[in-house]
Symmetry: C2
DNA sequence: CATTGGTAAGTGATTAATTACTCATTATAA
DNA sequence: TTATAATGAGTAATTAATCACTTACCAATG
């Protein structure tokens, strides 16, 4: 991976996340990355190919982080870890979340290939395990609700970072006595 | 409001919601509405003006529906009504929700003027009232959580209508004994 | 040590298509 | 008659993508 290729990916992620995929032109990306426009197409074939590369990059990082979380067997620890993971992933990969979420509304094809709900589904099984172990009367529905809580935490944090996120997570932890 | 003007609004809402604002061309809207492209600019000045008109239309309908809901003084009934309102609004105005939500990622200017969080804020006060009356130990945070639950219900329903929405709402009602 | 040949990285002018928008003109209805 | 509704050809700007070309690097060969 050359320096310029990496710079293109970096700038494109930032612009796609901030402005949206459709309204970000390849010429703008090239200018901002200090690169000729032609180079983008040399490396990524077309604009969609550039987007694909960005999404694949991001998904790799996140899958690795989640797999660590899934190994926890203690149910309460597992639930708490899921919440902490959400917070840290959000802080470190905010631009990427913004992009994947926005693609749901702009680019249905790629949104069906990889979007952040896929990651949520990976977590869902481990959540269900946890609620079964904790003897909840309706563990599946509880897991669904918990997943939705994490999901909406993501969405809210993406839209406005007013610092209330941590207190909101703590409130959930109290509610589930984690 | 002439027939053709209404048809433009109808078609534009559908296309903006399905494809996104940026990628939907005025020529496409005109063709699909069976109207000359010039007419769009006669009625709405520019593309942004067309979007403004659509959003204002939708917000009017929804504000009226919400105001009915806010008059309820019984706390449990108020909370239950909020959930039912979310379901019915979603079913009747799905395209509009899709649009407003997608604008958050594509059109920051208009998203700040009117977006669906404004409507959530209208509900928030009535939710806080309800949880105070119900003697919850932390009514503000509870109201926030409840608002988030409604919020995420919207977002999930927009993305995939797999019929699980009603059962999810019922689960919340049970959890809050509504 | 040169010199050659091959390859990938990178450029920038150019292209065809599409875009939002304009405007002179025509139809319609009160 | 007069204002408004509606048309559709036209325009300047922007777009994604292509193309012929240059540069940098590196290994093999004589």
């Amino acid at each position: 991976m050359t320096e310029k290729k990496e710079k293109i990916l970096e700038v494109a992620l930032e612009l796609f996340a901030r402005q949206g995929y459709a309204v970000t032109s390849t010429s703008r990306i090239a200018k901002e990355a200090g690169v000729s426009e032609g180079l983008i197409f040399k490396h990524f074939v077309n604009k969609q190919g550039l987007l694909d590369a960005i999404v694949q990059n991001g998904m790799g990082d996140i899958e690795r982080a989640i797999n660590v979380c899934l190994r926890e067997t203690n149910p309460k620890k597992s639930l708490a870890m899921s919440l902490d993971l959400a917070l840290s992933l959000m802080r470190e990969k905010k631009e990427f979340w913004q992009l994947t979420l926005s693609l749901k509304y702009q680019n249905p094809e790629i949104a069906n290939k990889y979007h952040h709900n896929d990651i949520m589904k990976m977590l869902q099984t481990s959540l269900e395990d946890a609620f079964v172990k904790l003897d909840y009367q309706n563990p599946l529905a509880e897991a669904q609700l918990f997943g939705v809580l994490i999901n909406s935490f993501f969405i809210q944090f993406i839209h406005e970072d007013n610092g209330q996120q941590e207190s909101f997570l703590n409130f959930i932890k109290e509610k589930y006595k984690l």
